[in-house]
Assembly symmetry: C2
């Protein structure tokens, strides 16, 4: 590993700081022994009213999103990869104009060619496997593992052992050296993914890069580029080169573009070529719908909403049209060999997931899950990292069964779910319907949540929708971390609650997941600067502020013991508190008469 600081925010030009709030600052935690430093957000806090200093709060973050889109991020991880000496540069497939679709071919170029730095594609040397799972199983601690252990504030051995067991993944293609390592697994913080991508009817490359940066700024842990329109290859190039977070794709979308949208014309060879194209670009994980088996398709025919996964419906149609088994299933081991050479992780697609609560937990869904479990084991035989995708639309009482069953069948492989939506009746609010299900499923062990934006079922998300989706899912993930008993999860809640009780308004904004919106909402009713130091707010006004009254009580009557003395029950109260606050029943000897 390089002796120089391997990761510097300054080595590539930066467009802007992109801090969420003026109380936020980029900081670092350092492991000088291993020359690793990990970015954190330092959130400044004011002193308490009694003069006690409140130390800056340190929050998980990515440093990356502030790159100049035309230049991209620094490939800072390259030394780590090179030093392992198990990869090589080779005569790569490279970029073909046809990869960008017919419009680009006609034009002779994609609409906006990538001109920035491009890493030279590399892959495993013959006979070598370069996955983090492989290293972990060999007992090797990589810098990537140390990096995520520092981010997660856990022991690096926990990282290694979870990777080795397949219960966690670090999705990180050797051709995506710009990305900051992160881990997905139920022993770690719950992660969230944001989906972006153009379609045939909408959006530009610049817009998509801007959505990536916006998503990363607000806390997306990974991002999927689901583009299905023009310039698919080049859009992805721009995204990857600017992505400080792992990027996922669904290669069947691009493969389908290559056969002009005729699903029946798809072949393994076209698909394989597309996968290699994307491996060389640096895609970190790919959704593969290899579990949609021919014999499962009829199980979906009587559903209320049929097959709602795009990849699932494409493969189902192909299977029936050809009277053949899904080529992703029959060629799965070849796919594993390719993935092992780049360290691309599988995201085993749930092509038969339910699209309505009526179809939840049905035969089609669970039949496919059995096959995903089989495929998980086959990938592991190649030391390829795997996560398993899950639904979708599930009523709340049926949510837990999904994660319990997946964890059991797939032997703890990380579960990665889309929501699920707990009801179908609120188009326009599906970030909320799904956050309810997402919190429930994450609480019981789902490792990553794919966000849902307010536009779900209605249109493509714009920048605002991306932010709303990300913040909503940060809430779901964090609420689940707390419910799971993650050791550090409540620290931020406690800091914010203390700030709230002490009327440190700015700190309350800054410690929130979206300081901008919080401050705007406050200022709508009380815009003046003094209102931000006022010991009340517009909700109740000074006379009715419960927290002010509550503080006055504390100031006037002092500690719990002093108050208990006033209440004439010092003994009772002390006794009570010595018992650790266990609730006692009303005792008529000290209480008032009951009639």
């Amino acid at each position: 590993m390089s002796e120089s600081t391997p990761f510097s925010a300054e080595s590539a030009p930066r467009a802007e700081s992109l801090e969420q709030h003026d109380s936020h600052r980029l900081g670092w935690i350092e492991d000088s022994q291993h020359a690793i430093r990990v970015p954190i957000t330092e959130i400044h806090q004011e002193d308490s009213p009694d003069g006690t200093a409140n130390p800056p709060f340190r929050a998980y973050r990515t440093v990356g999103p502030g790159s100049v889109p035309e230049v991209g991020l620094d490939p800072w991880r390259t030394p780590w990869i090179e030093q392992r000496e198990d990869t090589e540069v080779y005569g790569a497939r490279g970029h073909k104009l046809a990869d960008d679709g017919r419009t680009a071919v006609r034009r002779g170029a994609p609409s906006q060619q990538w001109q920035g730095r491009k890493p030279v594609p590399r892959r495993a040397k013959p006979g070598r496997t370069v996955t983090q799972m492989h290293y972990a199983r060999q007992g090797v601690i990589t810098p990537e593992m140390r990096f995520v252990a520092m981010r997660e504030q856990c022991d690096v051995e926990l990282v290694r052992s979870e990777l080795a067991a397949g219960r966690a993944i670090i999705p990180l293609n050797v051709n995506h050296p710009e990305s900051e390592p992160m881990i997905i697994g139920k022993e770690f913080l719950v992660k969230i993914n944001a989906n972006i991508g153009n379609s045939a009817v909408s959006s530009s490359i610049a817009e998509e890069v801007s959505k990536l940066q916006w998503a990363a700024t607000w806390g997306a842990d990974t991002l999927m580029d689901l583009s299905t329109g023009n310039d698919i290859h080049t859009t992805r190039e721009w995204i990857l080169r600017n992505a400080p977070i792992p990027i996922g794709t669904v290669p069947i979308y691009q493969a389908l573009e290559k056969v002009d949208g005729d699903a029946n014309a798809l072949t393994w060879e076209i698909y394989r070529d597309t996968v290699i194209e994307q491996c060389e670009q640096g895609v970190d994980y790919m959704t593969v719908h290899a579990g949609v088996l021919l014999r499962y398709v009829p199980l979906s025919a009587d559903r209320v909403t049929g097959i709602v996964s795009r990849g699932g419906s494409i493969m189902a149609g192909w299977c029936l049209a050809h009277h053949q088994e899904n080529f992703l299933y029959t060629h799965f081991d070849e796919l594993c060999e390719i993935f092992a050479a780049y360290d691309v992780a599988f995201s085993l697609g749930d092509g038969l997931r339910p699209g309505s609560i009526a179809d939840a937990n049905d035969a089609a869904q669970f039949a496919e899950l059995d096959t995903l479990a089989e495929l998980t084991r086959r990938a592991w035989e190649h030391d390829v990292q795997v996560m398993v995708e899950g639904p979708g639309h599930i009523p709340l009482h049926k949510v837990r069964e999904n994660v319990d069953r997946q964890q059991e069948l797939c032997e703890g492989a990380p579960f990665y779910t889309l929501g699920p939506l707990a009801t179908d009746i609120a188009p326009g609010y599906d970030h909320i319907t799904s956050a309810i299900g997402a919190t429930e499923i994450a609480r019981h062990g789902t490792a990553m949540l794919c966000y849902v934006t307010p536009k779900e079922h209605l249109g493509l998300p714009n920048r605002d929708d991306v932010k709303t989706g990300v913040v909503t899912y940060k809430i779901a993930a964090h609420a689940a971390d707390i419910a799971k008993g993650h050791p550090a999860a409540t620290e931020r809640d406690d800091a914010l609650s203390k700030a709230r009780f002490e009327f440190r308004w700015k700190d309350q904004f800054a410690l929130g997941l979206d300081p901008v919106t919080a401050q705007e909402f406050h200022d709508e009713t009380l815009p003046a600067e003094p209102a931000k130091t006022a010991h009340f707010c517009s909700m109740c006004g000074p006379k009715f502020c419960s927290m002010r009254i509550s503080q006055d009580i504390r100031d006037t009557y002092g500690s719990a013991e002093a108050q208990a003395a006033i209440a004439g029950m010092q003994e009772k109260s002390r006794e009570f508190m010595e018992k650790g606050g266990q609730v006692y029943l009303p005792d008529p000897s000290v209480g008032p008469p009951t009639s």
Copy 2:
């Protein structure tokens, strides 16, 4: 009971239809034997692509919100009340100018005097009890009980027996004859409450009436007027006369105004007079913080966020200042006698609820709950209806304990909770943090959810915030109804999902909880009219539309059986489906080779 139709939308002038969408229409279900009719929303649906007609969907609604604010709603329930002959008009306390605060006294009038019709205050004749609980316990089926049974599509005996047992309430003051009966109890649909109200720093009477109408339009089942500013009495009068839903208040707020905000100057006599003033106006339920006992106050002193209930902090301060027991507790039986005379329901306030997840389920909170259980039983001795308020801020894994404990201690009295928020770190998004907790707590038996708006902790909700809060809580309540297995709960989900799969865009909008927003979001990307009949949308475009592909599969290959034949597994599949869709393990004899 009157022979004439007792409830007509046409007898008072109406400002506007206030339907949510042009596919919505006011309809009625009628019980001609008892001359009762109940409003419903008829949601028009288009035919399916195969020509099958889809009947109008019938949704729960209130007819009321379209009144002319200056005129108010028709007092249509008066004949039901009069016919019982157990109430009388009396020399009422009436309205005093001081009830509206010092500004009104100075001015000689409230800022906008109520000029519309005002019911003459009535109360129980001496020796009579006029609560729905009392009737239910006597075995009497009232028209109000029939009305709610029709709304809930359940047997009226279930309504009566749940009321008699105290497990449900119909909050309905004899002086609020404009309101449509509704029931709160865990055997029925989960209800939601919206809070509005002015404060010393903001808002006008017209604004508050507009918020009431807006909240009712989007589905609020009850509304609390939490005004603490000027014109408290008159604002409430405007709200009550225009309210088709029960209205709740916290009388201590107005009582505190009457002593110029000096909590220590509060007395039982001032409070009692305020309660009678509000009973005469028609308030249907009142929050009473009678469980904040002197000896419990010290238990809150070491909390992160102290006491966050306004009523709770006022009473805690009073108890300590006077070294006396809470006068609401010591005078509770007198309060019961007053409530019994008007059929006002208790909402037993949780003055010591936690204001942060750090304080959740602590000694102070659960000590108060013990007392609320005691007070529930005392109210029931007077045949007075009771619900019990709950938190607040609770991490998800501690939510269920709250409702289980309350249900056990309070013998099934309806639980009415504020959220709870599952995390404290998202000011600006607390409608979402709380909807997550609210769905969980409702799923386990909470009968009514008090909404939280995006402005919570930051400012007073405006009209938009009220709508966002209401729709978010309709989601939580509905998701809980589904999870509880409410018989009819999934009907709307299924209708919407079918419309979605059939690309009946307008029906998808109309069946949603907020058709306006759904349509706006759709039109943002594809505004043209043909897009609303298109068999795809902006998300994927035609080539990638999974539902279109899925429908094509169905059209091309037919039923599940026909598809199974193609898959060469007709026998297996039929067998499978005859077993009711139990999942089978992959059988190598019919599957592809695994290597």
